[in-house]
Amino acid sequence: MKIAVCVKRVPDSETRVKIASDGKSLDEAGVKFILNPYDEFAVEEALRRKEQAGTGDVVVVSLGPAAAQETIRTALAMGADRGVLLEADRVPVDGLEVAKALAAELKHGGYDLILFGKMAIDDYNHQVGPMVAELLDLPCVTAVAHLDIAGQRGTAEREIEGGVEIVEFPLPAVLTTDKGLNEPRYPALKGIMAAKKKPLELKRAALGAGGLEVLGLTPPPQRKDGKVVGEGPAAVPELLRLLREEAKVL
């Protein structure tokens, strides 16, 4: 099975957000970067599919700065075979630009599956995967929480409000992965050693200006101080009154 997994280098979700002096981006001092957790499910799924098929090739592709090589190496340490970094000083805010660059790289790869995490924990955009699918004219299912593949057909399950959607699709396909799909493996010691020797190709990403411009990055508005309404069940009537008359939510 030939599988490509697209991964992103993101700030650790526990990151304290400090805004850079330009007022438009994250101040990266002291920020730790990791492999996007949703992409880990994608890497793990790719490795399992390859293992099940008995043979194949898993390539990890990322668009990002030079430091994203380390992110790719993490995926290589998990067991992927090779990596490609499309180097860009900044990841564009416009997901379509990212998708165009990735699609150009993936177009002639003859992949059975192209996997993405459903979203990145920094931008919460949920878009690059399905956009790449459109650009490559491939079927796509997003937020996959369960996957079965038999030959050239796949069945996926994805969480929707109040239920689970069951979706069938043909291969080759693009899938974006959600939590619950699998438990990503910890890189083994041998995997970490081997990763250093696996091929990692560097290319310069060709990016356009895109259709989104950042006007500003600001902290969320401060909530004003709350109040303790009272103690015990006796406070309930007053609470309800405030919710009805003051907060107007009931």
Binding site: D12, E14, R16, G30, V31, K32, E44, N182, E183, P184, R185, Y186, P187, A188, L189, K190, I192, M193
Partner: protein, 558 residues
């Protein structure tokens, strides 16, 4: 000076401590239980300043000699530096020796020390003291140990050293009386220790020489010393430091140390406040774990301390960006193990106790000890035998170096404070004036856990402060700011001793800065995922054992 409780009136922590689990810490090589096995020339346990310095010097020596050495460093944290914490004001001399071709400006230090001040605090005032000679820091640099370790890691990896993060060493692999490597901890177990879908079996790493660079209160180092029956003239003593990193509105340009308030007069310790940058301030409180008030809570004291005008002035309007805690070996010269090398193993850095409390220095000793260990090991490998005699060269080199020379000079200073702040202070002053000659004879001490604790309620100065979330914070908030995101379902890693009384539970709850222990309905509740590996528990309470790699804090600039 505080009163020591009479025998039988208080609580002696040692009576409730389980013994070191040697059966788990020492495993015969070839015993089943491991998945992968890897062979190395030299294995280093711990990627702190001592471990990385050893790796770098070994790589340098091999490079110069044209030989290839397979060097592996195991680090339990998920990334370099994440479990490293210190003040810190660093003496650059060991770095200069490790990297003779670099200049001070190349080193990962923040700024040279310009001004320094020492104060004696009272609840609302302060008295400037003349800086004790042992604490002069001219020529030294303010630094973040995390930044130092990340930089050392880069140097090591550039030299071809393999650094494996997320791999705690859980046991020593032994063959007869020889250390042949370590076995790592398993990953991916549930709270009943059953493997989950993605579990990773332990790995065995075998090497000709194993360097134990585990930092303060290292488990394998303790196991090795107990097994080899190696002791110091005194047992090792420990202090607990709780530290915070703040972004401040008010700039600071002076390194500050304080004594006195809020510590009770029979507790040893003091505070520090250092500017990493004018508006990035590290501050903390360090307290010897032989405190006699069973209700003492170092984190609580630090919170109260920040309300003092001296600190408040800088912190008001600022933001706490990180929090953490770690113990420090304080016993000095007399607590050093008689030898720090043996068949197949050497012990470096804080694990060996190379910390000088009067000057608050340990990092450059760690680096230097790592370097000397590397030289001895290289010599032994060249000669084709990692024998105790060959590795003993390391002990000889250390004894002749400034490491032991410095520790010898201040050998009784910390110990003098066992008599309380004022008597101790007088003795310490005398020692300073006479270069350690008076009073010179070793002061014998007991282990911290043997010290009896008073249980009278409210004996400590105003600990029960309700955190305001702006200047003062709860332990849970602190743990969050340490970056701890340990999986809630990992197996418990703390070995609790025999029946725990409500008083003991209360003592543990106060002792632990991370809120691991709670007294709930008269019983002990253990929130193990909170643990930030400071090791205070191992000194005074339930035994600490290694857990899944990547657990614990994620310090960034501590």
């Amino acid at each position: 000076m505080g009163e020591r409780p009479g025998k039988g009136e208080g609580l002696i922590p040692a009576q409730y401590q389980p013994p070191l689990p040697l059966d788990k810490l020492l495993v015969s090589v070839g015993a089943p239980g491991a998945g992968d096995r890897m062979e190395l020339d030299v294995l280093i346990v711990g990627a702190g300043p001592a471990g990385l310095a050893a790796a770098i010097e070994l790589a340098h020596l091999a490079q110069r000699d044209g030989t290839e050495l397979n060097i592996g460093v195991l680090e339990k944290a998920a990334a370099l530096g994440e479990h490293c914490l210190s003040g810190a004001v660093v003496n650059p001399r060991a770095f200069r020796e490790l990297f003779p071709e670099l200049r001070d400006s190349d080193f990962p230090f923040r700024a040279p020390v310009r001004n320094e001040a020492v104060y004696l605090l009272t609840a609302d005032s302060r008295w400037r003291l003349p800086t004790p000679p042992t604490m002069h820091n001219r020529g030294n640099y303010v630094a973040s140990l995390c930044e130092i370790v990340r930089w050392l890691g880069e140097q090591a990896e550039a030299l071809g050293v393999n650094v494996f993060t997320g791999f705690p060493a859980a046991s020593l692999l032994v063959d007869g009386a020889r250390v042949v490597g370590v076995r790592t901890a398993a990953s991916g177990l549930d709270r009943d220790s059953r493997p989950l879908a993605n579990s990773l079996a332990p790995n065995d790493l075998v090497a000709k020489v194993t360097v134990l660079a585990e930092g303060t209160r290292g488990m394998l180092s303790q196991a090795w010393c107990t097994w080899q029956q190696v002791t110091g003239e005194n047992p090792q003593l420990f202090a607990l430091g709780v530290k915070e990193l703040w972004e401040t509105r008010q700039p600071l340009d002076t390194i500050i140390h304080t004594l006195g308030w809020p510590l009770p007069s029979d507790a040893f310790g003091g505070s520090f406040m250092y500017p990493l940058a004018p508006n990035l301030v590290a501050l903390g409180l360090v307290v010897g774990l032989d405190y006699t008030d069973g209700a003492l809570d170092v984190h609580g004291l630090l919170q109260r301390m920040k309300l003092h005008p001296l600190f408040r002035r800088y912190l008001e309007g600022g933001e706490m960006v990180e929090w953490g805690a770690k113990t420090i070996p304080e016993g000095g010269y007399y607590s050093l193990p008689a030898r720090r090398s043996g068949a197949g193993a050497v012990i470096v850095g804080d694990s060996a106790g190379f910390v000088d409390v009067p000057s608050l220095k340990g990092i450059h000793y760690a680096v230097h000890s790592g370097m000397l260990a590397a030289r001895a090991i290289f010599g032994a490998l060249q000669a084709g035998e990692a024998s105790p005699a060959r590795l003993g060269e390391y002990d000889r080199m250390v004894s002749e170096s400034f490491v032991v020379r410095d520790l010898y000079r201040t050998r009784n200073m910390r110990l003098a404070f066992k008599d309380g702040f004022y008597r101790g202070g007088l003795k310490a002053a005398l020692m300073t004036l006479t270069g350690g000659r008076l009073p010179g004879r070793k002061i014998a001490v007991e282990r911290d856990a043997e010290v009896e604790r008073r249980l009278t309620a409210g004996a400590s100065p105003g600990l029960d402060l309700v955190p305001d979330g702006k200047l003062t914070f709860s332990k849970v908030d602190g743990v969050f700011k340490s970056g701890n995101a340990t999986r809630d379902t990992i197996p418990g890693h703390l070995i609790v001793g025999r029946e725990v009384t409500p008083e003991l539970a209360e003592f543990y709850a106060r002792m632990c800065p991370a809120g691991v222990y709670e007294r709930a309905d008269g019983e002990l509740r253990v929130n193990a995922p909170n643990c930030i590996d400071c090791k205070a528990t191992d000194v005074l309470g339930p035994r600490w054992t290694p857990r899944e790699g990547g657990s614990g804090p994620r310090y960034k600039r501590m």
